[in-house]
């Protein structure tokens, strides 16, 4: 039997044989668990709601933070400003992935000729992980245009996105580095014994496994990036959080902040569910049908 069809046979018989009585007991237990879970959740939320709604300051808090009139009226301006965040985030994400991988590979290289690059890489990572992202945004957004160099754009959106890219590349490079380092050395040894060069081993054996391994923490960093696009507002562009702040200061009511929060949460949900699906699929592939 060839390996291909053997593999196919294993994945086809995904459900192993289970004794009927045991299956019945498991089904009953999972039903009871579901009932207890629902009851516990309902009880918890009822208790919390009663406690919050009966606190003495609730009416004024509700008026200040959950005001229906301001809630509906702020959607249009915040939604149109959200496009600025989305644009920045999409461009930054691609650049960060490419540059982060490059930096990780540089830092992991063993070749003596690449030593100066390794030093630069280490300094870069230390500096940009240690500096608050807001500071980097301010320094680049106001500092570089102030130098008045020929041919250098002064658009705050560009420099804000560059600042985000520089800051997050440092984090993402470390994530990639951890992923690559976590691949067992036997993989590299096996690749070597098959006659693959270092580059080929990286390209065909190590990196595919490493990248798959670090997808959850990577997507974690990208969710964080989505929210950090709000920092570029200090340079002037009106993005979602700033649009909310304009209404908040104008009307003296905080409800637009809740609207902006909902927008950001809604942005991150697709990414979060995608990560969950990817991880679940990897788990299923690894466990190959056993519970």
């Amino acid at each position: 039997m060839s390996t291909a069809s053997a593999a196919a046979a294993v994945t086809e018989t995904a459900q192993p044989y289970v004794d009927p009585e045991r299956r019945e007991r498991r089904a009953r237990k999972s039903r009871r668990n579901a009932i207890v879970a629902t009851a516990s959740t309902i009880l918890f939320f009822v208790v919390v709601s009663v406690a919050v709604l009966n606190s003495p300051g609730w009416p004024s808090v509700q008026d200040a933070f959950f005001n229906p009139a301001y809630f509906w009226s702020s959607w249009p301006s915040i939604l149109s400003a959200l496009l600025v965040n989305i644009k920045m985030f999409l461009i930054a994400e691609v650049a960060i992935l490419i540059l982060g991988m490059a930096l990780a590979l540089i830092r992991l290289s063993k070749s003596p000729t690449l030593m100066p690059l390794r030093i630069v890489g280490t300094v870069y990572t230390d500096v940009f992980r240690g500096t608050p992202t807001l500071l980097v945004v301010l320094l680049l957004g106001f500092g570089i245009p102030a130098l008045n160099l020929q041919g250098v754009p002064t658009d705050p959106l560009i420099w804000g996105t560059v600042a985000l890219i520089l800051s997050y590349t440092a984090y993402v490079a470390e994530v990639f580095r951890a992923g690559i380092a976590s691949i067992h050395p036997s993989q590299r040894a096996a690749a070597q014994s098959l006659g693959l060069s270092t580059t080929q081993a990286n390209r065909y054996v190590v990196l595919p496994q490493a990248v798959r391994r670090v997808i959850p923490p990577l997507l974690n960093d990208f969710v964080s990036l989505q929210k950090d696009t709000a920092l570029v507002s200090v340079l002037g562009p009106i993005e979602a959080l700033r649009a909310a702040q304009i209404i908040v200061y104008s009307k003296f009511n905080y409800t637009p902040y809740i609207v902006a929060a909902i927008c950001f949460i809604a942005l991150t949900i697709p990414l979060a569910r995608f990560t969950d699906w990817l991880t679940a699929r990897q788990e299923a592939q690894r466990s190959m049908g056993s519970r």
């Binding site: 009880l43 300051g57 808090v61 200040a64 705050p156």
Partner: protein
Amino acid sequence: MRRRTPIVVTAALSAVVLAACAPANNSASSSTSASASESASASATAACSKDTLKTLAAGNLTIGTDKPAYPPYFVDDKPENGQGFESAVAYAVASKLGYQPTDVTWTVVPFDKAFAPGTKNFDFDINQVSITDERKKAVDFSDGYYTVNQAVVALKGTKAAEAKTTADLQSLKLGAQVGTTSLDYITNVVKPTTAPSVFSSTADPTAALKNKQIDALVVDLPTAYYITGAQLENSVIVGQFKADKNSGDNFGLVLGKGSPLTECVNQAIGQLSTSGELQQIQDKWLSQVTNAPYFS
């Protein structure tokens, strides 16, 4: 043992949540609204003096403002030195209420804290806050102590510096600070073709103007004089917008909604206005703010 832990944890959590949310002993919020209605009727003749006013700390007046506090409203970022237009107005109001400068305490109140619900940590807040009807739903405003005009600042020799009418400004990239009526002016009066840039403080749009990231910035006239005089070389006030006496932009003191001090503070401002003291303070600290040309 293992089965019982989740139930114990849920019970403990619920107990903590209930205890934390139990009505607190301070009925301060309910008593302020009750006394506000009493004082509103009685205060026309009641004494507004140090012993009768219900301030945060008895015998002491707590005034809030932001940090940094900019000229010409404050000097050296030290509200307690009494210099600067708003610092002088605050001490004048305090003295009409019977508080000597030694009875006055200053506290830092960031702009978005001034209208937060709940009890305030100041008696009144003075921070170039413009009075609008919508804002009155969240806080109490005193009567206006200054009617302010908006002005436009640009770098000398640029196209923006030549603007004479509101239409000339429409093609420019304008900037303003968030939460200011300057921003409202841009959105409602000028209506530029490109979206304006909005900044967190007064320092940032000045930097953006210097970097030529914006063509002109809109700010209130006193601040415009400070920027062109002290902060940004090579800048000039292009012009000011004429404010209508009735719909004009008025600065007011911010107090908590239903505060017992509002009536007395209004009395104090009324007295300062009729005695001419308010105009004297204005002439002393804002004397140059009359010469900029008006936009047509």
